[in-house]
Assembly symmetry: C2
Homo-oligomer: 303 residues x 2
């Protein structure tokens, strides 16, 4: 058994998605699916997640073909987590039509023996208790832990969300979540408060407006890549997170310069993801496509 | 009579502003006041605007002290344009309490003889008809014309707003206005449509998220400068526009690289403006302050 360099905790789901450009049913989805596919461009990734017995074999085969380690994917009695959503005129706004947690509601993550030695860990969006439970199962503190969260957990228990942030290196969240967590409309203030919680970096995603990285002595602003055609934004944030941790694992570094470059790679991959339906583009783009967009990004912010 | 390098058309107003950080009454305000102060860091600016006989002499003295040419400022019978507004929890959102157009409602701009030879012209937010009237009064087509607009004029007559855009070099507007003008939530699409109207550059302001410059073959994304303390955002957009045209006039260039650098200077000055009440900071910052923030910007986007 090989130790994957990057461990990704999150959801694997079946998605029904509808946008003005078309629709898909029973598509492979969930934070861990998007994140592991994005990470796989840079590093071997293993996922910790759960699906039901109804989960189609073709999705398993596809993930394996993409060299994603599935030893941490439990297949249990019951149905797979399902999400149904749609987008209308404003593609920045996802509308959830239905969520069925199914087997995900009783998910009790068990980190496989060989995963516990991994150096890079992504604690995707899931209850803070389970995020901590996974972190505690690691043999040693990984070199880098990246966390995500969600408005739902913040509303339910801010203290627990902060406890996770206190123990990670990069606390990632979107702008609305950062504002909610610290009761401030000001992102620079929210960023500083995340750092006060002992996280080395605060990373705030702003959707089409890019992302902001706060560290003790600096701020890095990565613009969004302006896309003329957004086909399906589902999984943009998860692709971003997965690509980032995958890149950091590949570089085997947590230095600020590497994190900054990682954010540009992550934005590149997230922008590709939004140009196709579901995981379509993550399945088809190449390293060369990614390098080209990375260079386009560079030109876009050079003055 | 000297030809000012930069001519600024817009409003000069008396503002009552209240924010969580304090309040001011009868403060010098209006797009032309903010824009000319911002431009004056780089170039001699002359304004085309109107005030009433009630306009305080101290504001006139202040603008003169700042070396702003007031030959184009008409003082007429009646009251000066007044704006009263406030900001609450979310400082990105201005709430207008009262607007009294007063003498501004019958403003019929007359460009002084010596201004008509100027090479750099800013058509600030005012009816499209008057913007065109000012442009037509110039002796020759200036080297660079920058335009602004407002949701009000777009709602009233899209065609007229587009007619202005068709005749300028840089069409500047905010994200909401760009979306409204072209019935699209997508800013990259809106940017392309502005270019199709024959403007050389489309420049879309996104408030705290910075700005986007579209030209035929490229996009430039300037992030916003993340401020922890926003004291009063009034005039941020006008400071941005004024600093940009002032910088272009100083450089005597309309090349894309110079426009890009100008956007960073413009963002620097707009960010200072938001850190103080009303025009307070535009009145007190130095060229050295501006250079320091420009350098901080550079670091913020380097990877």
């Amino acid at each position: 058994l090989i130790v994957p360099k990057t461990i990704i905790l999150g959801a694997v789901a079946l998605d029904n998605i509808k946008t003005p450009f078309g629709e898909v049913k029973d598509a492979l989805g969930g934070s861990a699916a998007y994140a592991s596919l994005a990470a796989s461009f840079f590093s071997e990734a293993g996922i910790v997640a759960v699906v039901g017995k109804d989960f189609p074999q073709k999705h398993i085969d596809f993930l394996k073909k993409k060299k994603i380690d599935l030893n941490g994917l439990s297949v249990v009695e019951g149905k797979t987590f399902r999400w149904e959503g749609f987008y209308e005129y404003d593609m920045n706004q996802a509308h959830t039509k239905d969520t069925q947690l199914n087997v995900f509601s009783e998910f009790d993550p068990e980190v496989p023996e060989e995963y516990r030695k991994a150096d890079f860990l992504y604690l995707g969006n899931i209850t803070p208790d389970l995020q901590l439970k996974v972190l505690d199962q690691m043999d040693k503190r990984p070199k880098l832990v990246l966390s995500d969260t969600m408005d739902y957990w913040i509303k339910e228990d801010k203290g627990k969300v902060k406890e996770v942030i206190d123990r990670v290196d990069i606390a990632l969240m979107n702008d609305g979540e950062a504002r909610m967590l610290f009761d401030t409309p000001n992102l620079a203030q929210a960023g500083r408060k995340i750092l006060e919680l002992n996280s080395k970096y605060a990373l705030i995603k702003k959707g089409e407006h890019g992302s902001l990285l706060f560290s003790e002595n600096s701020i890095f602003a990565a613009p969004g890549y302006p896309l003329e055609t957004v086909v399906d934004p589902t999984g943009a944030g998860d692709s971003f997170a997965g690509a980032l941790i995958g890149y950091l694992a590949q570089q085997d570094s947590v230095s600020e310069n590497v994190v900054r470059r990682g954010m540009i790679y992550a934005s590149s991959i997230a922008s590709f993801n939004a140009e196709g339906f579901s995981i379509q583009n993550l399945a088809s783009i190449t390293r060369e496509d990614i390098e080209q967009r990375y260079e386009a990004y560079k030109k876009m912010i050079t003055f």
